[in-house]
Point group: D2
Chain length 341, copies 4
């Protein structure tokens, strides 16, 4: 059955599988000391324009978020997120499990506003009882957000300015980073993004890899003994080659960006199809996730021929659903969808 | 360079890579709901003789140990391990990070003795101040152990009897399970092992997979909402197919056992070579890890032609080193080693 | 200077100090095994009408909240609180430090509504992705609330019915329990309250003790080995007599209730004074905390002669402040306040 | 019945009870901002010869240990203790509950040896896999130890030199600090002790207070926002006066030292009595805890007339028991004991 259920329904880009096969019997050291991991790190540094970056390859998004956030926070600090942020809603309490509260500011189509962030931090310090409360110790945003929206360079710079004025780090969850950067509405390059935060990750799982997220501390600013913390969280793979080879392939000849752009082109075609057919959008997403408002009977009927994700109820008789494209979406699938609508 | 450094130096068994390729464009649901994971679970249940087993696929050993142990312990309990156990020594405090103490009994060539385990638990309850101490809440052993040794069926049964008499679970770390079960000295089958513990894992990372460990609760006795705990620990892969396909292949036509047996045959040839050449063994290991005592100058000389692992100092002038075979060891490598010795 | 700053500005009821002196040289066993603690427990059981209650004496409110909540929750669960609840706002992340998220429903003058609680839990289970989210594992309310308001018996029964229908415990923070029960608007007795929850605590620190909170599991339903958990949290006092003597005195001849009633009488006189002088109340509190809206210049002027607490800004030119009475408030203080207003 | 069971069987020094009474109706700010706490802090600074010391008053020893240790360690670090240390054995896993491992060196009559500490740390850094292990991040010793023994100034200086060479803090648990410093064998003053560590606490609970431990960071080197961490651990008392008044009294006119010296004098008389009667000592303790080896039948017989603590079995027919004196021991009690022996 036709499926736009998510951007992780297929395996990996074929170039990755080929690299697995080609290198399979090479005897390599474990835990990320292999030459493919080292090569991947160099290529990621180059792509970010950050020759001194500390780069660590992990295997999943929740793992990465819990690890980075707990490694950066002091025990009396929490992380500030939009109230729609993945770390607040959909990670089974993984952040709290590490002992930290997630503080929230309102999400606006998934995005945090710098002014509201500043107001939260100012309000905290203005409260004479703030020593009885959780300190805002870092800021978490995602690019693109859970709603497919992206920050403009100016918006990001403004958020980062707030962080710097309070000397707290800004962390960008890039589970779908490629799909954000390759959006026609993006006015940011990867090096610019790297210069406007303290740590971010380049998502692989949703962008062509079987698994893998690359954590980047752009200015070599990883916490001391980060590898030990990775081990302690159960996130250190014995066969570091697993993520190493994948990122080495993804960052060879811009593959990561090329397949991301493909997903965006597919999303734009999909968007055009829905528009042409007169469907209503829940919000205007410039990336690979499109949120459509369906009348409930229509949703049920359509669901018999194509898979998509339930997102949230819109009103009594309508539902917001998500259609996602990815690096693996074939043009024919959009044509088929058009026939179905 | 010739290498016996560890059992995770190569990629994956080629049948796994082929299965990745063959299934790559199938659109599958995430988080372990795909048909390959479901098939792997059925095959693992069959291999264990446990039709009701709860089986969860994870990606690494430390992750698995921290997850299983913290999911089974109450907050006031600790896990009992041999003092040579992996969870006590080499996991960067991953168990303590979840809030639990590792209690120890002496390791005898890596193995725990049932009598000493019973003495520890009896001593705990006999102490009138035991409510001020950490309760022994479960027992951790590994099969094979960190020293390559294995428990006999009688030894395991005796340990399990202690656990049952105190109603605490027994957990078996099977990072190298295949290499234990396929040892000529093993008097245990997988179904027998499954019947003599409350939870164990079947290690994939060191036995033919790129990554992956299969946690088995043999009698459907997984903790409630275990998947949520997996997510909370950052151990839930979006692309469950990654581990699912691997275990599905490994448990098709006994591949897991066949490649394990191969590793053992290679280890026995390697052992014979060392014996013939008059080398001294640190202990008598019946599995894929062999521990040799080398004179330090010899160690240095040999190290220029073959890779092995430093284990521990033996005395002022000698060192214990480890040579490991694996599913990927080629017979020619043993021949070459013989020429070098 | 005249002070209505809080209900913990004085030491202890004099009967407590006398009991300290009278028993001082008695040699008593430690950790709560002394006869005063045992006597206090019996008296508390009697006062609650719960002959089988498990009663544990602790020293502070945050300590008690963190301990009870973490002892009752499974790792994948969080506690549901009103968004104005003390555990959500003012405990420096003590709950999250134990690894658990605080889930929120809207506070209405400090109170949770049963329907909104039910909607949150129903919504959780209706979400097909709920296994990726924090389970609502218990409910926290305070009586009286942080805003001095109290639940009616019907309201409490309705909340408890929701909890029972989902088999999750209801916990009542009674830091100021006496001030709630002795309010003329209270339609609940202590035994009734005990029958409408699974655990609560009787606050001593704010009601006549130097320190001390009595945790009551009304039906002997304390978690196994609770004393070990108390010790693990650093909450077990070597000299259990400290809390034991205090609660023994407070629950002799209804002292706890008599001094609570006194505080309420003082609060009602204070309220009448503010009303007479035409001041505006932020909300209608029937207990010992009164929230007054002051014009900012007036607030500054008044602050030179009497101490009260800043609560929150009301608007650009007004502020909500809190005046608290207590067991120790002298009638003359109200008279003096009247002259100042 | 005559009792030498522990040093916390009585209430508080009478001067403390008098101060409670004299100050009882003073309206004081909460959370340690009251004038008695501030005065106590000044007096403690003076007694320690540390005008810049950060001093925080807490209520119990396990609470203090867990708080100080977790506040000083990074997540990948553990605390090194003698294997007889209180934090390793008798705190119900309170340290591990905060996420940290307790690493051990052998205890010699309760004491750690500097050379063995250095060997452990050197061994750690020499291990090429140390990034997979818990970093030794601080050192814990007690003065006096759990066995009543004390470090000489030279021994302490040597341990501290090891700590400084690795830039890890040294923490001294002074639950019975006065009883150590007032021992005739002590060659250390309080200012000297303060100069030979990074943090220590002055135990009140066992030395004349109802409860209370004063944590001292001698050079103002408390972790940032330590009060928030105290709150987060549930260790911040609303009525800071409880500990404040007690320490203010204890550090007025050297009361703490005078009552400690009294306990030591009583211990020396008790020791002389046992020696005269031909009893055997388990070890030579110069402080208030004396460890006697009793023949089991004798132990039972004696136990009918005097209370003491079981310590540990000595052999098949003998047991080590502990007799403790304290600030509250009356000379007549020793006379009575002599008659019983």
């Amino acid at each position: 059955m036709l499926s736009f259920e998510s951007d992780y329904t297929e395996g990996a880009h074929e170039a990755i599988l080929e690299a697995f096969a080609a290198t399979n019997r090479e005897q390599l050291p474990g835990y990320g000391a292999d030459r493919y991991t080292l090569s991947a790190i160099e290529k990621i540094r180059a792509a970010c324009g950050c020759p001194d970056a500390s780069v660590t390859l992990l295997t999943g998004g929740t793992q990465t978020n819990a690890l980075v956030i707990s490694a950066l926070l002091k025990s009396y600090e929490g992380v500030v997120s939009a109230d729609t942020g993945h770390v607040f809603c959909h990670e089974a309490g993984a952040i709290e499990y590490t002992g930290h509260k997630v503080l929230t500011v309102p999400g606006h189509n998934g995005k945090m506003e710098a002014d509201e962030l500043r107001a939260l931090i100012e309000g905290f310090y203005a409260d004479e009882n703030h020593e009885h409360m959780v300190f805002p110790g870092m800021v978490y945003i995602s690019y693109p957000t859970e709603y497919g929206t992206i920050y403009s360079k100016a918006e990001l710079a403004k958020i980062y300015a707030v962080c710097r004025s309070y000397e707290i780090p800004l962390y960008i969850d890039g589970a779908r980073l490629g799909y954000g950067l390759m959006s026609p509405e993006a006015d940011l390059t990867l090096p610019e993004l790297a210069s406007l935060c303290d740590v971010f990750y380049i998502g692989g799982t949703k962008v062509g890899a079987l698994c893998g997220e690359a954590v980047v501390f752009p200015r070599g600013n990883a916490p001391a003994h980060f590898v030990t913390t990775v081990k302690q969280h159960g996130a250190l793979c014995a066969k570091g080659r697993l993520a190493g080879i994948q990122f080495d392939v993804l960052f060879t000849d811009d593959l990561y960006f090329r397949i991301s752009r493909h997903a965006i082109e597919m999303a734009q075609r999909l968007k055009a199809v829905f528009e042409k057919k007169g469907y209503r959008f829940h919000l205007d997403s410039p990336t690979n996730q499109q949120f459509i408002v369906l009348e409930n009977a229509k949703m049920k009927e359509l669901g018999e021929h194509v898979r998509f994700s339930f997102w949230e109820p819109a009103d009594e008789t309508h539902t917001v659903v998500r259609f996602a494209t990815s690096w693996a979406t074939e043009p024919g699938a959009i044509d088929e969808l058009e026939r179905l609508l």
